[in-house]
């Protein structure tokens, strides 16, 4: 095998690896995004706080929906202390869904 052929194979490998590395480096973007916006998510969850029962969820729904709008959340699923989960959805604000 000529030296030039070998060089071409090596260069092809380099082109492949360089392309791979160029994209591989951005895989941490998701983590950076979370770090940037975590405070917003944390404040939303803290503002809503705990919900004990579906009755309490119904009473607090208008306030929780306002909090969701303020923090730009379209849906929020909160586990109930009494068991199950309740979901708030801004696209259908009249409905509270309960799931076990």
């Amino acid at each position: 095998m000529q030296l030039i052929d070998l060089l071409m194979i090596v260069l092809a490998g380099i082109a492949f690896i360089v392309g791979f590395v160029a994209v591989w480096r951005i895989r941490n973007l998701r983590i950076h995004f979370i770090e940037q916006h975590w405070e917003r998510f944390d404040q939303l969850v803290s503002s809503v706080g705990e919900i004990n029962s579906l009755g309490e969820a119904r009473l607090r729904a208008p306030m929780i929906i306002q909090i969701m709008k303020r923090y730009g959340a379209t849906a929020l699923v909160v586990p109930l202390r009494s068991g199950g989960k309740v979901s708030f959805n801004l696209e259908d604000p009249q409905s509270l869904r309960v799931s076990k």
């Binding site: 030039i4 260069l11 160029a22 941490n28 973007l29 944390d42 959340a73």
Partner: protein, 176 residues
């Protein structure tokens, strides 16, 4: 934002580095059968193929653009539910692009020599497919980098009752 722009610029500059290395090889071996542009086309197609592999090795890049953002402290932060469909669509599109890239790479090696006698115009211009493919993967890279974070709505889904005080993302084993 600055980091994203830096990443994009580095992606676009790196093919120049490959082209430079090829120019050095061409100076060493000015082959009459295989021209510089033909070598460049094949190398850039392979560069594009290499840049598509990470999308299949890790979900983090596609998740950042479309899907689930995090599962931290009993809460899952997720973008619009349609993003799940977009995630699957993007995965399929990237697979198709990868196959096309491999075909272009092989054709860039074989066709110019085979067509040089019968179709010299095609043979001389086929290298452009490698350049176009590389630019296409560059566009994919830029698309994956930019995320309209401001004003984008999220869904926050509690997965356990112990969610009153979610931990900071640094405290979870999110980092690779």
């Amino acid at each position: 934002m600055k980091r994203t722009v830096t990443n994009c610029l580095s992606y676009l500059i790196l093919p120049g580095f490959v082209a430079g290395l090829l120019a050095i090889v061409q100076i060493m071996d000015p082959s009459p059968t295989v021209g510089y542009t033909q070598r460049l086309g094949a190398a850039l197609a392979l560069y594009g193929v290499g840049s598509l592999i990470p999308y299949f090795l890790t979900n983090d890049i596609l998740d950042h653009r479309f899907g689930e953002v995090s599962t931290v402290g009993g809460y899952t932060v997720r973008f619009h539910p349609d993003d799940k469909d977009n995630f699957d669509l993007a995965r399929s599109a990237l697979l198709a692009l990868l196959v096309v890239g491999i075909i272009f790479w092989i054709l860039n090696i074989i066709l110019p020599i085979r067509l040089s006698t019968t179709q010299p115009t095609w043979a001389n211009s086929f290298w452009l497919t490698g350049v176009v493919f590389c630019m296409l993967t560059g566009a994919v890279f830029v698309y994956m980098n930019f995320r309209p974070s401001s004003g984008r709505t999220v869904s926050i889904i509690g997965t356990s009752t112990d969610t009153t005080s979610p931990t900071a993302p640094n405290a979870t084993p999110l980092k690779d």
